[in-house]
């Protein structure tokens, strides 16, 4: 444990230094530059109902409205989970649990990330997050024919997580590194599960366990809800793996004005009802699972 703590301290210093370097040489455009260039470049990966891949999605519509708010054109820049942060900050990164290591330069391709982008400690070290745009949680999903039965909720999230983790022992569980489903984030190894790093896309995890690649997978709530709706009777939700999480839009650290303007924009659409209209369109059941998050909206 001491060694682990030592390593973390070194990483923080390194990341702080590299962050400074990043701030001084990154090329992501701030508000003035975006207004000048007349285009807002939205970095997105097709994922759940945030970026559908068909030109719509909760985050796509939020970014389109934000571009309209700025008076600039909207441009979607397709990326993937491995490059989404380098495409924003102009640096390649390597996450190690809650730490991050910045390695080499990369071309900047977008001005903001909005993609069901979960706020994670390591991401916060290289990206500035907006006010929360959507709530989340990581759930354990199993194939319908799995002998593992869903937990009986206890009204205590920590007990529920413990019950769920206890069911993973010896089971093959799919995870996806560099995303919010990174097994290190939830210390899945400690459950005794056989954690398998999935090589495909986030959207492909649910079909993978249906196809017997593993018995279980972890998914965030939005994706899990879509999966059980898309494949009725094929999957079951066992229980929670993590406490509640939040998602937000990600901005380069040298774009504070753009971030501030986004927060102003977000507050505006939450107030005028536009935000909830979008939530009801893309995640109608979200209000039930996260009543605290949507309280007053």
């Amino acid at each position: 444990m001491r060694e682990k703590g030592k390593g973390r301290g070194f990483s923080i210093i390194l990341s702080a230094l590299l962050t400074f370097t990043t701030v001084t040489c990154a090329l992501a455009a701030d508000l003035d530059a975006i207004k000048k260039q007349g285009t807002l470049r939205h970095l997105g990966v097709p994922y759940a109902n945030f970026v559908s891949g068909s030109g719509d999605g909760l985050d796509v519509e939020l970014c389109q409205l934000f571009a309209k708010h700025l008076g600039v054109k909207y441009e979607y820049v397709k990326t993937d989970w491995g490059t989404v942060i380098p495409d924003l900050i102009g640096k390649k990164v390597k996450a190690k649990g809650a730490e991050v290591e910045i390695t080499e330069d990369a071309p900047v391709k977008g001005d903001m990330i909005a993609n069901g982008f979960t706020v994670l400690p390591w991401r916060e070290k290289v990206v500035k997050f907006s006010e929360p745009t959507f709530p989340s949680q990581i759930w354990l999903i199993a194939r319908a024919d799995s002998p593992v039965k869903p937990i009986i909720p206890t009204k205590d999230i920590n007990k529920d997580i413990a019950l769920t983790r206890a069911l993973m022992k010896g089971k093959k569980v799919l995870s996806l590194e560099k995303t919010c489903l990174d097994p290190k984030l939830y210390d899945l190894a400690a459950t005794g599960a056989k954690v398998i790093g999935f090589m495909g896309q986030l959207n492909e995890l649910a079909p993978a366990i249906i196809n017997n690649e593993a018995e279980m997978t972890i998914l965030d709530v939005p994706d899990a809800l879509i999966a059980i709706e898309k494949w009725p009777g094929k999957l079951k939700i066992i229980g929670p793996i993590s406490p509640k999480q939040i998602m937000g839009a990600g901005f380069a650290q040298d774009a504070p004005k753009l971030l501030a303007e986004y927060n102003i924009f977000l507050a505006g659409i939450k107030k005028d009802g536009t935000y909830m209209k979008l939530i009801n369109t893309y995640y109608p059941s979200a209000r039930m699972y996260f009543p605290d998050f949507f309280k007053g909206l």
């Binding site: 009986i152 709706e229 009725p232 109608p284 039930m288 699972y289």
Partner: protein, 774 residues
């Protein structure tokens, strides 16, 4: 017999008979009226029954649709997904709740999708699980607030069918609840409940059409009235309604109630079940509205009495009317006759006036031709008063002035009963000739026999005079045309002669221009020939001298050879010495060296002369008026040769000949054009300059451009250069016809074009465009 005395008078008998027939007819009418009233009553009752049946059927269809809605709801995918996830053991907190929310949203969409009178058909949709727990409840805002309901009472079983229930409302008319079991994987899983508003259904299917209806309709559920309209007492008070359980389906019935004015009133009624549902519609109609206020029997008596009264009155009126009618008919006949006479008189007056005032002469004669009448216009035209001619025979008047043949034809025609039309010549009282266009027609009596003749005549004297004048003028005109034609023929002959002379003069001028060109060029050509001829002659003179020396030297050599062959005492050297000395004296070796170049030079001179002569010969094609395929480049070359003496000291000639095909043309004439332009170009060069001759094929034409770098043509004269006799040269140096002839040759004789571009001080380009003709 006494009783039938009144029938002894036939007139009276007839009247009585008529009255009896009329009375019978009236009776028939009254009976028919009675019958039709009865029929009307039956039809009205049938319509009443049908109306109620129709409404019951509409409600039945509506209820059937609602059962279909619930069956559709039972297929709801989201509800199935909820049960699927439930079966997998999922909890509401982790996943199951989402399916429930999705199902509730789907229920809400189904609930609000169907509208009846702008309201949702279903005020409420509920789904209960198999334990009676309410999982989905979607309803109109504000309804069902704070209710305490035992939901389990709605549960049924998998085998059950959809059932209807009635729930009375607190303030409203209550609701109909349709309850339908829901099964999942062949197992009873819950209950679907759908609420329908009695008020909305009653209003839509009954009240909305009640404005024209004379009856009231009540809604029954399982033998109880669940909806009685508020205005029911206009037909029957709610309290007086018969017991619903006792009503037989589709069996009309009647009941007597006490009306508001305490009189007994009969009410007709009928109950129609709503299909297989527990609902029914019972309708009530006051009998007097169905059959009218008066009963048919009462109407029968009233109508009969009224008919008899009318019949009696009618007979009296008829008699009076008949007398009046006869009188009226007579009066009308008299009036009609008077009217006809008046109209005939009026027509007669009109005709008389028309004849009197006619612009034509009108004359009436008897069958033998005796004049009976003439109108005033006759006097105006002829000068004779009526009394001077009436009684005369018209044939006698006209025979003196018209041919016998004409008059015979006329007389024959009109006596045949036909109309004759023609022109007659007459004489006025003043003695002047009078021409009249005359139409004579017979006037026949009622039996069709000829009674008179009427003649209508129009004075056409002026027209006849005009015709004669036109005839005279035509004759005169013909003579004048003849004279004029003769004069024109003479004139034409003069013109032709003048034209021939002009053409001859033109030809002469052309020839003169040619001669002038040739004359102008002759000196140069002569110089060109003279020069080589001069040195050829000089060389020939030198060769003549050389020949004399060779002859002298040859004689000496012959003598020396003879001495040597004779073998004399002189030695060889002595013999050859004078030969050697004389060879030097006569410069034999020099002569031998010089003789070759002399001959070469002479041959060259001869060639030059030959070339000039050939060029002249080529140029001499001027005289050939022949169009044949020719090489324009060759023509240009021969023209250049002809004018070479004019050019060589002033111009560097640049030849830029393109590949052009032979074209059918008069090359002699074109050469004349080239020479004219080239000479002009040479004259335009004040000092040294360039003349460029360029040919190109341009589509179906050949373009020849001759440019010089001379003084150019002033703008004020460039438009006149093609005019005949226009020249800027000194008197005697140019005829002024060169370019005019060039224009004539290129444009008129070769269908080509000639254009000039010039800039004073820089030069001029003449461009000839000649169509290619193969």
């Amino acid at each position: 017999m006494r009783h039938f005395f009144f029938l002894s008078n036939p007139k009276r008998s007839l009247t009585v008979l008529l009255v009896a027939v009329l009375a019978g007819y009236m009776g028939f009418l009254v009976y028919s009226q009675y019958q039709s009233q009865e029929e009307l009553r039956k039809v009205s009752l049938t319509r009443f029954l049908h109306e109620n049946e129709k409404r019951a059927m509409a409600v039945d269809y509506f209820m059937a649709d609602r059962l279909g809605d619930l069956a559709e709801l039972a297929e709801n995918r989201e509800l199935a997904l909820y049960h699927e996830n439930l079966a997998l053991g999922m909890s509401i907190e982790y996943g199951l709740g989402a399916a429930l929310i999705a199902a509730e949203e789907s229920f809400e969409k189904s609930r609000t999708r169907l509208k009846l009178e702008k309201s949702a058909v279903y005020p409420r949709l509920v789904y209960l699980d198999e334990s009676g727990n309410k999982l989905i409840d979607t309803h109109e805002p504000g309804l069902f607030q704070g209710e305490q309901r035992q939901w389990s009472r709605y549960l049924s079983s998998r085998e059950s069918h959809a059932t209807f229930m009635f729930e009375p409302g607190d303030n409203a008319d209550g609701f109909i609840v349709i309850s339908c079991p829901y099964t999942f994987k062949a197992r009873y899983a819950g209950q679907l409940l759908a609420w329908l508003s009695v008020k909305t259904i009653y209003h839509h299917f009954i009240e909305a059409s009640a404005q024209d209806s004379r009856f009231i309709t009540t809604l029954l559920f399982k033998g109880e009235y669940i909806k009685v309209p508020e205005d029911a007492d206009r037909v029957i008070a709610a309290a007086l309604l018969p017991k619903a359980r006792n009503l037989q389906p589709r069996a009309p019935f009647s009941l007597t109630v006490t009306a508001r004015d305490n009189r007994p009133e009969r009410i007709l009624g009928m109950m129609s079940p709503v299909g297989e549902t527990p609902f029914a519609l019972a309708a009530f109609l006051p009998e007097h509205l169905d059959s009218g206020e008066q009963s048919p029997r009462r109407l029968l008596f009233t109508m009969a009495g009224f008919g008899l009264l009318i019949l009696a009155g009618g007979i009296v009126i008829l008699r009076i009317d008949m007398r009046n009618a006869v009188l009226q008919a007579r009066l009308e006949e008299i009036a009609l006759r008077q009217k006809i006479v008046a109209e005939q008189n009026a027509n007669l007056r009109k005709l008389s006036t028309a004849v009197d005032q006619s612009a034509n002469t009108v004359l009436i004669m008897t069958k033998d031709g005796t004049i009976e009448y003439v109108n005033p216009h006759f006097t105006v035209v002829s000068g004779y008063r009526p009394e001077e001619v009436i009684g005369n025979n018209f044939l006698n008047r006209w025979s003196a002035h018209n041919s016998k043949e004409t008059l015979d034809t006329l007389w024959e025609t009109i006596n045949d009963g036909k109309q004759w039309t023609g022109e007659l010549r007459n004489r006025k009282k003043s003695g002047e000739i009078l021409w009249e266009q005359t139409t004579i027609a017979p006037v026949k009596d009622e039996q069709g026999a000829i009674a008179d003749f009427i003649a209508i005549k129009e004075d056409i004297t002026k027209r006849k005079e005009a015709e004669e004048e036109i005839l005279r003028l035509n004759t005169d005109l013909e003579q004048r045309v003849l004279d004029r034609t003769t004069a024109l023929q003479v004139s034409n002959r003069d013109l032709e002669k003048a034209y021939r002379e002009l053409k001859a003069a033109q030809s002469q001028i052309l020839q003169q221009e040619k001669m002038a060109s040739i004359g102008q060029l002759a000196a140069g050509v002569a110089h060109e020939i003279n020069n080589p001829t001069g040195f050829i002659l000089s060389n020939l003179n030198s060769l003549k001298k050389y020949l004399q020396r060779f002859a002298e030297f040859l004689t000496l050599q012959t003598e020396a050879l003879e001495k040597l062959s004779a073998g004399g005492n002189e030695g060889v050297d002595a013999v050859l010495q004078p030969v050697t000395e004389q060879r030097k004296v006569l410069k034999i070796d020099h002569l031998l060296d010089d003789i070759g170049p002399l001959i070469e030079e002479s041959i060259e001179g001869g060639e030059r002369v030959k070339k000039i002569v050939q060029s002249l010969k080529s140029f001499a094609h001027i005289d050939e008026a022949e169009y044949k395929p020719s090489d324009i480049n060759a023509g240009l070359e021969s023209s250049l040769a002809v004018v070479w003496n004019e050019l060589k000291y002033k111009a560097t000639v640049i030849r830029d000949y393109g590949e052009i095909p032979n074209t059918v043309c008069n090359l002699g004439q074109l050469n004349q054009v080239f020479v004219n332009i080239l000479v002009n170009a040479a004259h335009a060069l004040e000092k040294q300059g360039e003349i460029t001759v360029k040919t190109r094929r341009d589509g179906e034409t050949i373009r020849v451009a001759i440019s010089d770098t001379g003084c150019g043509i002033p703008a004020e004269t460039i438009n006149r250069i093609f005019e005949p006799f226009f020249t800027t040269k000194e008197v005697g140096k140019g005829t002024g016809l060169g370019l005019s002839i060039a224009y004539d040759i290129v444009v008129k004789k070769h269908n080509g074009q000639i254009e000039v571009e010039s800039e004073p001080g820089k030069g001029t380009t003449f461009t000839l465009t000649i169509p290619i003709v193969i």
